[in-house]
């Protein structure tokens, strides 16, 4: 390996400098406050987890995990997402009285990047999990809270796509018959390869009607008008439940007045393999990647010993920042330049100003080499120099 430059960080790791930090902090607070208003409680889990528990149950690909060994030789992972750790905590500690619990987190997660090494391998996610609730209302609340959180952060222009992996699975299974064949076809959706999907369908040993049903499946994108087509594609009512669920969800969306923000796309499947039902992604026009995603995972809790339903979502702060664009509204900072003999007076002044919420820097004038640069750098400047007691405003 070549010698490292002193400024270098491990691949995909980034510094957050003060300007960016304060912008992050602002949207983080706005979203956190909104989540709290909806009754979600924040919690923290460890950065390191066991590979055997979190690592293997997480939906993140094995090669994307950062692994290391502890002193006893156990394999550890840096948490690649927050849903699995929260499922672990909820199953082992929190689900006591059979009441749905609403949890929230704001944490950095770690995913080693396979290509273009500079892509962030550590990034911040803020999200919620509603655990112990099988109702479609919980799914609806998730989407509504995500919309509300994004609006609180200042984002106006965004769109949510909703899919249903349960529908895809039942529908494919009814036509194709075996899990293996379902997986092969679903893979094309996952890889977003419609050309391959159509070719694959053409090559299957199926009746032309069934082939057409699989091809028409790709048209299930839009709003409430897709239900009719979805029902017509079914046979023996297999998959009906999922469509009914989606219809109910549409009703909930209209109750929340969110028709403008959401669209269905039943071809949406996720790389997060633990999703079992409704899942969604959110897009903002100027960012080429989804800024957040979520969905229902009814099987994950079982792996930690408590079989119950759950749904949640996560927003990527870095992508949200990108979507919001440059909105650097900095708090004005006043710099008080003082000479040592007037320190007490300067401190008094700063204290009063700080109490009223202003941002004050106290700087000994002897520590500044060029007064002009200093004067230009701050929004406001106050001089307290010269003999004490004498007003010496310059």
């Amino acid at each position: 390996m070549s010698r490292l430059f002193m400024f270098e960080k491990p691949l995909g790791m980034r510094d957050t400098l003060p300007d960016l930090y304060s912008r992050k902090q602002k949207i983080r607070t706005a979203i956190e406050d909104e989540m709290k208003r909806w009754g979600y409680q924040f919690l923290e889990t460890p950065t390191l987890e066991y590979y055997e528990t979190i690592g293997t149950n997480s939906a993140i690909l094995d090669q994307q995990l950062f692994k290391l060994l502890d002193q006893q030789g156990h394999t550890l992972v840096l948490r690649p997402e927050m849903t699995t750790p929260i499922a672990r905590v909820a199953a082992s500690r929190l689900l006591k009285n059979n009441l749905p619990i609403r949890l929230a987190y704001d944490a950095n997660v770690f995913r080693a990047q396979q290509r273009e090494g500079g892509r962030p391998a550590e990034f911040e996610q803020i999200g919620v999990e509603c655990i112990g609730d099988y109702t479609i209302s919980a799914d609806g609340e998730g989407i509504a809270l995500m919309v509300s959180s994004l609006k609180e952060s200042g984002l106006e222009n965004f769109q949510i796509s909703i899919g249903h992996v349960g529908f895809v699975h039942t529908f494919f299974l009814q036509i194709l018959g075996t899990e293996e064949r379902v997986e092969a076809l679903t893979r094309f959706l996952y890889e977003k390869n419609y050309v391959g999907y159509r070719e694959h369908v053409k090559g299957l040993a199926l009746s032309s009607i069934d082939k057409q049903r699989l091809i028409d499946f790709l048209k299930l994108r839009g709003q409430s008008e897709i239900f009719e087509l979805a029902y017509s594609l079914l046979e023996n009512d297999q998959g009906r439940e999922a469509v009914v669920e989606l219809e109910q969800l549409w009703k909930i969306m209209t109750d929340y007045n969110l028709e403008e923000k959401v669209k269905f796309d039943l071809t949406l499947v996720s790389h997060m393999s633990y999703y079992t039902g409704i899942l969604f992604e959110v897009y903002a026009g100027n960012v080429g990647f989804p800024i957040g995603n979520g969905g229902r995972y009814d099987m994950l809790l079982e792996k930690f010993g408590k079989a119950t339903g759950a749904t949640g979502f996560a927003i990527r702060i870095d992508r949200l920042l990108e979507a919001l664009g440059d909105q650097s509204e900095k708090d004005p900072v006043t710099c008080v330049l003082f000479s040592p003999e007037r320190r007490k007076e300067a401190y008094q002044y700063a204290k009063e100003q700080r109490e009223s919420g202003k941002h004050i820097i106290l700087q000994d004038i002897n520590g500044v080499k060029d007064i002009d640069i200093c004067t230009n750098y701050f929004d406001d400047i106050v001089f307290l120099v010269g003999k004490a007691g004498k007003e010496a405003e310059v």
Binding site: R115, Q159, Y194, V195, E281, Y283, G285, G288, F289
Partner: protein, 215 residues
């Protein structure tokens, strides 16, 4: 603004066929389109902006969302594995990826070497065959490699087979057929879906007519 589409076009071999296809689909493209040296061409009548990129880079522009749509060969898609939607097989620039080498030769047992512009595809292919080979990445004139002894085999695009023949090489194995695809950024696919669906429909209509005529 939301109606404005950016399309990444591959320079070179595929470009003319792709432009022709768009014209057949009824899109108004300016005449200077074909021999311009500009990298960005705006077509305000159609609300299009074309960017002219190296074929290998088209999926990259699309994945990052700076281009909504792109036209890329399947070879590039296989090599780059970008997170984009492959919506339509345009059936243009048909060719295939193949293994080639000097006639009547075998892979070196001690240090089998394969030269290619497609290291990812080549590595995956030979791994599937159960062979561990050394992949040598070249950026062009791949046919040189076996001729001067850099590698035993090459993995490259073959369209007519003329280049191979003129350089005294033979094809050993056809790996996969290649045509050009219409690809779309996942976010654009959702946010600009009406416009994109319309383009897909017009292009598939052209394709359908072509295949009818062919019969």
């Amino acid at each position: 603004m939301n109606n404005f589409l950016t399309i990444a076009m591959p320079k070179g071999r595929i470009f003319e066929e792709a432009a022709e296809l768009l014209r057949q689909a009824g899109f108004q493209l300016p005449p200077e389109f074909d021999d311009s040296r500009k990298l960005i061409i705006d077509v305000p009548e159609e609300n299009f902006r074309f960017i002219l990129a190296k074929p290998m880079d088209v999926p990259t522009y699309v994945e990052h969302g700076v281009a909504d749509l792109g036209i890329a060969g399947k070879d590039v898609m296989l090599e780059e594995e970008r997170d984009v939607y492959e919506l339509l097989d345009l059936n243009i620039s048909a060719c295939y990826l193949a293994v080639a080498g000097l006639p009547n030769t075998k892979m070196n047992d001690v240090a089998p070497k394969v030269a290619t512009k497609y290291p990812h595809v080549a590595a995956a292919y030979f791994r599937e065959q159960g062979e561990q080979v050394e992949i040598i990445k070249l950026n062009g004139s791949i046919e040189l490699a076996p001729m001067i002894g850099l590698a035993d085999r090459i993995v490259d695009i073959v369209s007519t087979g003329r280049t191979l023949k003129e350089n005294g090489l033979v094809e050993y194995k056809r790996i996969v057929d290649i045509t050009s695809r219409l690809i779309v950024n996942p976010v654009s696919f959702r946010l600009k879906d009406e416009r994109i669906s319309e383009i897909v429909e017009r292009l598939s209509e052209v394709k359908r007519l072509q295949s009818c005529n062919a019969l």
